[in-house]
């Protein structure tokens, strides 16, 4: 009866150092040219697989990548700025919608009074502007909310565009 050859699994385990009967494999391959050849082929294959020639990144890769990160970091806004702008945009938007249904004039009157008490001259200019808008039939609160909303949306858009340009959002 012909001797049983060593299986591929046993050979791989033998070469990896995980075979359960390495001595038996060694003895058998000493007298079996078929298995000895196969073991040699696997041994050479394993050696070839460890060869990592051809995996070189260009020289300066590390410096270029680090520089890209530094640039992205400098350009990226800080988290609290992003959050403040987004929250501000939401509040301004809500106020804009609410001002259609709610009369905010008591709020503005209160604000004017505070400004008048603290910055007399400036509040006169604000009152004049308010009167001018009233004469044109434009609600100052509505206009202010609209302008604030547009401004905040523009800032948020600028921030998001900056983040996209830098591939990764570096919010530090």
């Amino acid at each position: 009866m012909a001797p049983e050859h060593v299986t591929d699994e046993e050979i791989q385990g033998f070469l990896d150092g995980s075979a359960s009967r390495p001595e038996a494999i060694r003895t058998h391959s000493g007298s079996c040219p078929v298995c000895a050849k196969k073991i040699n082929e696997y041994r050479r294959l394993f050696a070839s697989l460890a060869d990592d020639r051809g995996f070189d990144l260009p020289p300066g890769f590390a410096a270029a990548t680090a520089a890209r990160i530094a640039r992205a970091k400098r350009a990226a806004p800080r988290a609290w700025v992003v959050n403040a702008v987004l929250v501000g945009a939401v509040i301004a938007g809500c106020m804009l919608v609410a001002s259609i249904f709610i009369d905010f004039s008591p709020v503005w009157d209160g604000l004017k009074q505070i400004l008048a008490e603290n910055f007399g001259a400036k509040s006169a200019a604000i009152s004049a502007a308010h009167a001018f808008l009233a004469a044109l039939g434009i609600k100052a609160g509505l206009l202010a909310s609209a302008v604030a909303t547009m401004f905040l949306i523009a800032v948020a858009d600028w921030i998001l565009a900056a983040l996209r340009r830098n591939t990764t959002p570096f919010i530090v």
Partner: protein
């Protein structure tokens, strides 16, 4: 440059990167770029995408490094980030992770890096080129296991952590990959052509 990995030096380097020291991350990249290039070059067939993906891997590492708590080996974690990034890319490109490309001709860029030059074309006749070519035809999962085990000398468990599969699955992939590779090489070339006696 060798990897600093889990030594005190590794922790110190990570600390310097997290603290924002300008040169520290460059050192980190130099230390791990070999591991990342092994993964990316093996998993990504289009050579024009490879360098960009390597950069993206390091950007992702930089972003997530402050959250790394050394509960795994640093090299395993770096390989995992690279593996996931490559997987996202191949899925986006609709390259099937499990497909065997044995019958595909001319689909892959088998030159491991940069454009082929005359010297490289000549080298395609040698063992290294034949092997690269055959490995590139294996399913992506097999290529990854072969790379992590033979080039990066990771254990079954570490490879399992990187690929998020059990250790037994890693063993089975590794066995099948090497068996398939040997059979395919022998189907195309004579044993002496692939593995000269001098090896």
């Amino acid at each position: 440059m060798s990897r600093v990995d889990e030594t005190g030096e590794g922790r110190e380097l990570v600390g310097r990167v997290v603290a924002g020291e300008a040169k520290a991350f460059e050192e980190f990249i130099a230390s791990y770029q070999r591991l990342v290039s092994h993964m990316v070059f093996r998993m990504i067939d289009n050579r024009h995408d490879r360098e960009d993906i390597c950069q993206e891997v390091f950007l992702s590492i930089y972003e997530h490094l402050p959250g790394f708590r050394f509960d795994a080996k640093l090299s395993t974690w770096v390989a995992k980030v690279a593996y996931n990034r490559c997987l996202t890319h191949v899925q986006k490109m609709k390259v099937p992770v499990w497909s065997d490309f044995a019958d595909e001709e001319g689909y892959f860029d088998t030159a491991p890096s940069s454009e082929k030059n005359p010297q490289e074309c000549a080298e395609e006749q040698d063992l290294s080129a034949r092997l690269h070519e055959e490995i590139a035809r294996l399913p992506i999962v097999y290529r990854t296991v072969l790379t992590l085990y033979h080039m990066d000398e990771m254990s079954y468990q570490e490879i399992g952590d990187v690929m998020q599969v059990p250790e037994g699955t890693v063993k089975s992939h590794l066995f099948r990959a090497r068996k398939l590779l040997r059979e395919r090489l022998l189907a195309k070339y004579r044993s002496e052509e692939i593995w000269p006696r001098s090896m």
